[in-house]
Symmetry: C2
Subunit: 161 residues, 2 copies
Amino acid sequence: VLPSDYSDINCSVARTLEAVGERWSALLLRETFLGTRRFDDFQRNLGISRNVLSTRLARFVELGILKRVQYQERPARFEYRLDQAGKDLFPMLMAMTAWGDKYAPTADGPPRSFSHRDCGGSIDAVHLRCEKCGQDVGLRDVWGEAGPGAQSAPGTFAHAA
Amino acid sequence: VLPSDYSDINCSVARTLEAVGERWSALLLRETFLGTRRFDDFQRNLGISRNVLSTRLARFVELGILKRVQYQERPARFEYRLDQAGKDLFPMLMAMTAWGDKYAPTADGPPRSFSHRDCGGSIDAVHLRCEKCGQDVGLRDVWGEAGPGAQSAPGTFAHAA
């Protein structure tokens, strides 16, 4: 029987999946990296129930992936921003994006494309550096925008299709 | 309501999770990267039902993650080896390992440690290159072995603990 979580498995990959592999968690993380910060925006963009959203956000705060920051005083309002453990998921997300772009492409190309903020070069997602100027890139150095496949029908797995 | 898969979501991260995010799939992938190739070995190491294992292996073959290769003639016997789409998951797995090592560590250190086959240097998992000689590394260049935390009790999430 599959355990309800991976906590008895001494494997770092398994524990990363435990934190972010659940579907709503993954989609929530994606929203955060796309710039969404506020509860109502998460709720609208994901079509998720407020209950489930609250639970996932609280868990991400507990894990240090997001931090809850007050942005208004009266009435008190809070938003969610990437905290260090969340920022450190950037290499994983870039690797997943690259794999999905290659093996489950849309007909028109990647839904999002990434470039180096400084020089506009393409990003080598495997080595996280700029293909043009050779500089290492992190979260702050990468500019993401809608790519050629953004409006395409969802892709299928190339190999399986 | 959460759809039963991500196929209607035009996102490469979501589609990568669709392929490898399911728990048994992730653990199966891990086994493959650790060198397991044969049905009975997967079955024993994972404690998974033969039915579930068969389904997951067939799906991985369909996706080009694994290939089924005959290794004996009489009786005909087959094993599963990483195919190109599987090898291309290496950057993602290294990124997940690094995150898990950092944010859900065991008391004694990483369960596995990685080094550069050529020079023995440590691996920079974010940029996939050797920290000693600076060379880019791929799957074939990295040597993984039991790390200091291999025998530890499973780790907890550092931030949440």
